[in-house]
Amino acid sequence: MNNVYLPITVDHIARVEGKGGVEILVSDDGVKEVRLNIIEGPRFFEAITLGKKLDEALAVYPRICSFCSAAHKLTAVEAAEKAIGFTPREEIQALREVLYIGDMIESHALHLYLLVLPDYVGYSNPLKMVDEHKKEIGIALDLKNLGSWMIDELGSRAIHQENAVLGGFGKLPGKATLELMKKRLQETLPKAEYTFELFSKLEQYGEVEGPITHLAVKPRNDVYGIYGDYISASDGNEFPSEAYREHIKEFVVEHSFAKHSHYHGKPFMVGAISRVVNHADKLYGKAKELYEAHKDLLRPTNPFANNLAQALELVYFTERAIDLIDEALAKWPIRPRDEVEIKDGFGVSTTEAPRGILVYALEVRDGKVAYADIITPTAFNLAMMEQHVRMMAEKHYNDDPERLKYLAEMVVRAYDPCISCSVHVARL
């Protein structure tokens, strides 16, 4: 007799961005099925922006997600600029990257300290850690405040930036603000290094050890970073961003408002660890040293390494932002915006959002959006995430269900999923 037992479920996974659950079906033969239920409602971003004026659509896209709204804004703006045949000046590009880095620092700090760390120190809620882990909470707030202040200054506000526009910026901060930004980045660097040290000591569960295919945007100019026009895979393959549909296939699954994706027929991973795995040779500075010393922990075969890879990036991007600000200051004074002519065309932008590859493909006709395709990192990751939760479940389905739920949630949290992003974006 082959019994099927009540599913082990977490209806609403806490401490992730968005609303999703895990369902593990167990029978006498072991784990039958694992499903990540994505239950947040659809928002149809591609559909609602069709036929809309380009600037209005660009104001709406960042509303897909709060944790990475700057990533959405800047990727959408780049796709639109490629479509209309405009290339921003180098100094504008550098400052946009600083804005993007602000998002990266804020997002990584929030994820690592507020969402992940409580599991490792035995708290259900990061705010309860204040008394016992005062130092960590202090560092988390400092990093988060630095990131959100950078976004605020360059983007007009910490969530849903309106200041990044076609042709450049609405307004730029003064030279003194950029100097202050450099100073604050320098002061915060030791806190980023402390974060790396802290996370290098946390367990990376062996249950989910195994081969993973990683995809990441190949950074421009051979410097580890955010923008790029090619996607590289850890299997050695490389293809231009515009060809993403030839290599990555999306499909609808019935338990999720977010679609799943396969690369050459198989699940794959994107995110900080994928960037590190594919492009560690392009790191420099302190991050390069840390990488060399801890390669074994930043390995390609375990999703938990994503947490440490984010900590490594806190160090890297803090240093990188300082250099980018210097590049911009060398060209001071900077005109914030160039006139753009809204011509017809098609453009694809691929960038590295905090959680991995973000794709925007936009077609512009008569000043309006004629086609929009957006694929977010979490949508890319869902299939792989399910596979890793399954690996965890196969080792623990006979244990206390509460223990299994906890471990399954930790796997999901290591991916830093952004469920709001994943729902409602993706077009056939």
Partner: protein
């Protein structure tokens, strides 16, 4: 209240989680903790209980699935004060932009023939289903909006609503007028203030993220006339005003009126 602590719940419907993020990112939240007990807040608390009674329920997001209709009703039953937080909860959010298109059409554009086991519906504001006691506006709300509302509740008083437009704050700050001086379609004149004219400060036209001013003082018609004189079509005006006001019952008829006026 138990042990003198206010019981708080923060619930998410369909949204970007930005309102909660804004709330969670306030350093002042640490000062709130000794006075509050977080009963439900999935974004930061693993031990969250959706069906427990609370003093104040903050709801973010639009009602976009049948499950969320049931959830808001349960929250109302269990809460003394219900606060709708942010443009999605208060006005249905940007996902309501095409609310007049059939849901099937939007679904097909994004999901093709794919099916899921949950029941989606067109986004709607929370107040469509339950009584809302107070609104916090914005996409996202300003941190001071949260501080003001919570601070006022904690001292046992009631926060006041804002009934004047972004223009007022913009004039007080002395920013160049985006509408008149730059000629861009700024929605400042009809949009609820409280952001300190954030976007006009950057030389960027307001897109109305805090929603239209209430109390029937959002003069869509006057602004539509100005936009019309600048050469915008009725459709363009409606589309822009609808980004954050798709569910406003007055919007269409007031804009329509301007296009029926006889040319002088």
């Amino acid at each position: 209240m138990e042990n003198g602590k206010v019981r708080i719940g923060f619930y998410a419907l369909t949204s970007c989680y930005g309102c909660q993020l804004q709330f969670a990112m306030m350093d002042e939240i640490l000062q709130l903790l000794p006075h509050a007990e977080i009963v439900c807040w999935y974004m930061i608390e693993r031990n969250s209980y959706e069906e427990e009674p609370v003093d104040i329920a903050f709801i973010e997001g639009s009602v976009s699935t049948e499950e969320e209709v049931e959830l808001v009703k349960k929250i109302r039953e269990n809460a003394k004060i219900v606060v709708a937080v942010g443009s999605c909860a208060v006005h249905g959010g940007v996902q309501s932009w095409e609310k007049d298109k059939p849901l099937e059409e939007l679904w097909k554009t994004v999901y093709g023939d794919g099916k899921v086991k949950f029941e989606p519906k067109m986004a709607e504001p929370v107040s469509k289903y339950i009584k809302v006691d107070y609104n916090i506006y914005g996409c996202p709300p300003e941190k001071k909006d949260f501080l003001y509302a919570i601070g006022t509740f904690l001292v046992g008083s009631w926060p006041e609503d804002i009934d004047y437009p972004v223009c007022l704050e913009c004039r007080l700050n002395g920013y160049p007028c985006v509408l008149i001086e730059k000629g861009e379609p700024c929605l400042g004149p009809i949009t609820r203030a409280g952001c300190d004219a954030r976007c006009p400060n950057y030389g960027i036209a307001c897109i109305g993220c805090r929603g239209a001013i209430g109390y029937d003082v959002a003069w869509f018609d006057s602004l539509a006339r100005v936009f019309k004189e600048k050469g915008l079509t009725k459709e363009e005006i409606l589309e822009r005003m609808k980004i954050f006001n798709a569910h406003n019952p007055k919007l269409e008829e007031m804009v329509e009126k301007i296009f029926q006026e006889v040319k002088e």
